[in-house]
Symmetry: C2
Amino acid sequence: MAHSGRHQDSDDIVARKLTALAHPIRLAAIRQLAAAGPAGMAAGRLGEHLDVAPNALTFHLQKLATAGLVESQREGQFVYYRAVFDALLALTDHLVGACCSETEERCGPRCPTLRDQ
Amino acid sequence: MAHSGRHQDSDDIVARKLTALAHPIRLAAIRQLAAAGPAGMAAGRLGEHLDVAPNALTFHLQKLATAGLVESQREGQFVYYRAVFDALLALTDHLVGACCSETEERCGPRCPTLRDQ
DNA sequence: TAGTTATTTCAATAATAGATGAATTGTTGA
DNA sequence: TCAACAATTCATCTATTATTGAAATAACTA
């Protein structure tokens, strides 16, 4: 009995991604990067928009990068960061999945189960 | 310049909710409660499913409750917890909103902007 | 009321995350 | 090569979060 209702592996990974998002600065950063689209945005410019010191920004962007939510690429003097949309969408789908049981749909058009099958 | 791209207030609140979710046990708990539906589930039974000690479970459930993601109600000897679906959905909508800029829709049917307007 | 189950509280400790300032590395252009 | 800019690394300190075991509160049942 009590064969743990935990998706041990998947919950750990998802928790890590949520931890990465769960900070006001990082939330603002990902929003800004999302708005910037696939081209991304240089770290410095991002820092200006968010009013965050360069070293602090690096700290937070690394958390997002480790979680796979952003990618970076050096271009000359600048380092461009961009949002990884697939990862973001997968994450939201996972959360929405928690709203629906096997028998009940509660999240309407958001629902990945409805969409995929 | 640099009029901070941060939604100071809203990002703080969302970050708090994400922090509440960002733990393997709490993630498993909310999923289980979501599956249990509006009726909710007694703390003890939840603890068995998740294989978590009672005091630890209380600790984590309180975090979720403080964030408004679960509610509880004593019924005799038992305390029933249930997911607050509205809060969960609002949270996912907020995250999905980060996927879309003012000009680009990237999240398809998930998108709250598409849905609401 | 005594015993049992359910849940929470408390206290101590360990682990992690965040903020800050100084120093460092990489790149460009004079 | 030197000065300026972009970004990262490092070291330190503080604060928060998580884990644990023991004790306390609440409700039910015999």
